[in-house]
Symmetry: C2
Subunit: 347 residues, 2 copies
């Protein structure tokens, strides 16, 4: 079962699920085709690296959001398919660079690009995907979309750098954590929805209001998504997650579940954490033990509930759309389902 299909499985209205899946299946495979075509290069190893990544699959959450946003705005046009592919290309570029930075060994169950081809090629392959994405957008020529995507990728970088800057900072506030999530994850998901609206709207109509609303929806959805990711990093077992429990901590990343759990510790334990932070090294054992504590003291549930509130806030932006057409209501309901899925998902 494909990742994006999982989103709609287990919902109450069986026939409605089927119809959502049906409607997304065809455009999503068109996106897939475009992705494979876009990474072709006259330099053989460029194509090889990109194909390796694409073949690992992934949820394709961002393209699905672009398509549903287009659908909600009007219809899934050729442009919507193009923008969905571009969004995924940019996301993939970020993943490659992330994996180099985090020294990750596997991604989506496959060896990471840099472990096979080396850091050098991996960095350049990421750059190439960025540049290819912008080339595609430049060919298309809609300056609003180029603006949105350039802006989003700038924010993603800012988020990644901010996160590095805040590494080992146990005194992070809730709003620091939210700011990182907003930049690192929210910005691109927001843009994915925004450009979907631009692509889907019928000529002549001004989609500004809906585009803004869906950008807000996407940004908040991204924040919720990131918070649940942070929870999963502490909640899962090594088998289901494919990396050690508490691996964020091993890289010095202080996430909201960590902040809240550390706040609950006794003074002696807290002192130990500060001491480790000063050495800029959290041993695997401590990371695993904090993850256990987070679970036992209910902090993980608390963060998930918090993510749920943010997701509901995201959904509230959908309600500003007042379409009568039942077709478009359908897209809106699917976007609601995704918000729901994102909070509830397990590794």
């Amino acid at each position: 079962m494909k990742g994006w299909q999982r989103i709609f499985i287990g919902k109450r209205w069986e026939h409605e699920i089927v119809s959502t899946l049906d409607r997304l299946a065809e455009p999503l495979s068109a996106v897939e085709e475009l992705l494979w075509e876009a990474v072709e290069s006259r330099v053989e190893s460029v194509s090889r690296m990109a194909r390796h990544l694409l073949s690992a699959g992934g949820k394709r959450l961002r393209p699905a959001l672009t398509l549903l946003s287009a659908w909600m705005a009007g219809s899934i046009t050729q442009k919507a398919i193009l923008y969905a592919a571009v969004v995924e290309l940019m996301h993939t570029a970020t993943l490659i660079h992330d994996d180099v930075i985090d020294k990750a060994v596997t991604r989506r169950g496959k060896a990471t690009v840099h472990t096979i081809w080396g850091n050098e090629s991996a960095v350049m392959c990421g750059d190439h995907l960025y540049a290819s994405a912008f080339s595609r957008l430049a060919e298309d020529g809609d300056i609003r979309v180029i603006r949105a995507m350039a802006d989003a990728s700038r924010r993603v970088c800012e988020g990644e750098i901010l996160e590095l800057e805040l590494a080992y900072r146990l005194d992070l506030s809730e709003s620091d954590c939210l700011r990182v999530a907003q930049l690192k994850t929210g910005a691109l998901i927001g843009a994915a929805c925004q450009v979907g609206v631009i692509a889907g709207v019928a000529d002549g109509r001004n989609p500004q209001r809906l585009a803004d609303a869906l950008r807000h929806y996407g940004c908040l959805l991204g924040v919720a998504f990131q918070l649940v990711d942070d929870v999963l990093d502490m909640e899962s077992t090594e088998e289901t997650l494919g990396k050690p429990v508490g691996s964020d901590l091993l890289e010095g990343k202080i996430t909201l579940p960590a902040v809240w759990t550390i706040a609950q510790l006794g003074p002696e334990e807290r002192e130990r954490w500060w001491r480790l932070a000063a050495q800029r090294h959290f041993p695997e054992q401590d990371a695993a033990s904090l993850a256990r504590r987070a679970q036992e003291t209910g902090q993980l549930d608390r963060v998930r509930a918090f993510a749920g509130r943010i997701a509901r806030q995201a959904v509230s932006y959908l309600d500003s759309y007042d379409g009568v057409d039942s077709d478009r209501r359908w897209a809106r309901d699917a976007l609601r389902d995704i918000a729901d899925y994102i909070v509830k998902r397990r590794a």
Copy 2:
């Protein structure tokens, strides 16, 4: 003395040099101002890293080419200044990633970004510069320029990856070397000239022919520039170059001077090189000795002469422009001077 000023020093016509310098001084400092402004970010360490790089200076060859191209096409407009800054931002992004890849310790006499802030931040800082450059272009809104720049940065990545792919390949042909240089260096310099023309042309006129001509000029100029860079890597002493002689070889990069010098070796020595290549490691001593051989056997002069022919080919594209206006002839002469300088320069 600034790098770009060096280009015009030592020319025959004293008063003409002064006037070229005068004419470029003001727009180049406007470019500089824009560069510093463009790297500002709400994330403090993003700005700090970028400012560190910018303060190291550099020749600013690419912005000078953009400005002169604009001048040749009409005049140095605000857009020309913007595009010149964008070109330099993209070039700077490439340098950061290059330094991470090459594990370079210094750049332009200052510690490299990754040695101070770590590889993680350096990769992200490069990404951020790319994204900021595209953001600026998106704000400006000229789709032809976005297309040219996206295309160029795609090629630059292809060139870098091709070079990695061809590492330790002693059987490189002359055309392999030229292809790497064309992608890695020529593409961006070609685009720098092309977008200069677009910026400089008066409204209503179609700059296509001149833009194409100057793009060709820039591409070939870039190839010549790269070949001379490859010569300098073998010709200079460690003191003037700031890195070991033959450092390209130490990274496995097979440049044209190396190809031609190895072809001149006796069978026993060639066998030794093949053996080292198979181990993917050229010891420092061998690299230095090959560099000496390249110099002694006249291969460095031969490559420089070859670069000279390519530079003359570049200049021939300038002649397709038939301006009567003496002001514009001036810009053309300056572009000729740069081609001249590029071939003759010493480290």
